[in-house]
Symmetry: C2
Subunit: 361 residues, 2 copies
């Protein structure tokens, strides 16, 4: 099918059901390959499932390759997009531009190797070949098929100076350092204030490590990295990304708050980058009155955060981590280029992920 009129830049013309909602909220999209004039079709090479979705799929299926392949294939066939029905989240993809409609504002040309910076949860997708190349153990999924980009679907040409899997891993979480940078800069700029203390929960992970260095560059007085284990603590210390490294279970609010206090907290800004449920209360308690919590984890419960803060009489600002901040891709890639500690950590995770299926937020 090809559209005759102009498409909606938000992709509303691809929504099959329910009618009238945005593609992200839709149950099912039209993923047929014909383009509306402002669309772009990408030949998919690789999906990058988000951490919360990958974890859910692994737990629900047991993690064996045939079951993982079947489940992802079933979801995409049924919905016309890779949106995990349980977590609601998706991920991103890389591929080669096959065709760009004459009205596309994205500036892409056939042959460009791109990464999408909008979620798979709203990207029309058709998979062919049954994901035969995926062993089910990594969130990076070799994949054949096609995907559709709308007029407002942000995508970026993959940088020539970084390996593809590394760039994909960085771009997957590029919203986190950008928003952290903005919030910490605002906190640091407040008249009469001391440089803010920033706590990053999950600081040895992908979004966490980038957020930690973004916080430091934005003027944090002290960056406290929180990790769940001695192994991650050793990694984080070796990378030198934070001023303090503490070990605490982010799901244990009292222990977490005590750990952050012991390292120089409470925090003016707390950044939640762990992908397990139940971290809302701890994040609130670790934050100073008048401070800000940024929730990037897709496992965050809106209700738990709202009522948890109220229940603790905590006057904290709580932000839903918006994955889009202008300039986010460039900022994140530059951090990886300029910060050897971050780059080393990403390279280790990418190879580890490829090797044994470990996934980190």
């Amino acid at each position: 099918m090809t559209g005759s009129g102009p498409g909606s830049p938000l992709g509303l013309h691809r929504v099959l059901e329910p009618a009238g909602v945005l593609p992200q909220a839709a149950w099912r999209l039209d993923a047929s390959p014909g383009l509306w004039p402002d669309e772009v079709r990408v030949r998919v090479e690789r999906l990058n499932l988000d951490a919360a979705s990958f974890r859910q799929l692994r737990e629900a299926t047991g993690g064996a390759a045939p079951a993982m392949r079947a489940e992802v294939g079933r979801i995409v066939a049924e919905r016309g997009k890779m949106q995990n029905p349980v977590t609601g989240s998706g991920g991103m993809l890389t591929g080669l531009v096959e065709e760009a409609g004459p009205g596309s504002p994205l500036g892409l040309a056939p042959g460009d190797r791109v990464a999408t910076l909008v979620s798979l949860s709203l990207t029309p997708l058709v998979i062919t070949g049954g994901l035969a190349g995926w062993d089910g153990r990594s969130e990076q999924v070799p994949c054949r098929g096609h995907a559709i980009l709308f007029g407002r679907s942000i995508a970026t040409v993959l940088p020539a100076d970084l390996p593809g899997p590394l760039a994909l891993a960085v771009l997957d979480v590029c919203g986190a350092p950008a928003l952290t940078e903005r919030v910490v800069r605002q906190a640091a700029g407040r008249a009469g204030g001391r440089p803010p203390v920033v706590a990053v929960l999950g600081a040895a992970g992908k979004s966490g490590s980038l957020s930690a260095v973004a916080a430091r560059r934005a003027g944090a007085g002290r960056v406290i990295g929180v990790v769940p284990s001695e192994a991650e603590a050793a990694t984080l210390r070796a990378a030198g990304l934070t001023d303090e490294v503490v070990i605490a279970d982010a799901r244990d609010p009292v222990a977490l708050a005590a750990a952050v206090r012991g390292a120089g907290g409470p925090a003016a800004v707390t950044v939640v980058c762990v992908d397990v449920p139940g971290c809302e209360g701890g994040a609130v308690l670790a934050t100073a009155d008048g401070g800000t919590v940024i929730f990037f984890s897709m496992a965050t419960s809106f209700t738990a955060a709202a009522l948890g803060a109220e229940g603790a009489a905590a006057d904290v600002t709580m932000l839903i981590g918006n994955g889009y901040v202008p300039g986010h891709a460039r900022l994140a890639l530059d951090l990886v280029r300029c910060e050897p500690g971050v780059r080393g950590l990403f390279e280790a995770r990418v190879s580890e992920s490829a090797r044994d299926g470990k996934v980190e937020a």
Copy 2:
């Protein structure tokens, strides 16, 4: 049971399972009447279920009084608190202080008639008498039993100059106008900026009408009230709370954004006060780049908000509506005292709710 040592101000000593979490996140609380030294016991007179929970209970049970009573009774008996297992939310209560522990910092004395300003979802509660006085048609539930307040459980003595059900209805949503006031004041104070346009979704409801007048007082240049029906539009126009009144379905993102634009938008600040799911995309699209969305609805999906904004490449700040802002109770009560339009709207809703079981956010 009476505690021998000091209690935790957050009530951690009342958590039965799972261990170590905050009372809001707990599955089950110890609601026994004996007090720890910093606790207060209240003889309950009335529960005020939150709108999202009441709606869910009505839909799940069919709404008949015996079924509603049985379901609320079952939840409280099982969990030791009135936390709706589906929505995760609770509400608040009013009652008479029965006993205040010697170490309580709340300043309450036996005989004080109080309203709790922390959620029922974290308040230990025992119900006696089977809720016999409740017809199941109003979210205000006549109730006998006792509840426990912790050291940090905010509660307020009910004002003598306002009827009890009116004050309860106002206090139930007092976090919304307080946070709206703060955010709009910040937006209005930005150097070189014009007075901000504010859109309130659900402006004829309780939290919506208070938020609308709070926005105006905080320096909004134009307040746009969005309502779903001609009947609510007439109510809102008669109350005179907003500069513009528009009718739109907040679940239809394109229609909502167009309606707000047509009334002078996009909004610098959008306040979401409707209690139905699926309003995230519309709120984002109705908001200008660089603007802020405040989500007060307990039906908000974290994932839908985060990925919806990203998917639309919308650079908006999204706030989880924290029910606690210092001074929130006084601010909301003062708005009702000073704004006849708001007071009239609340009085009509309170009597309507008592009459025919209608519930509004």
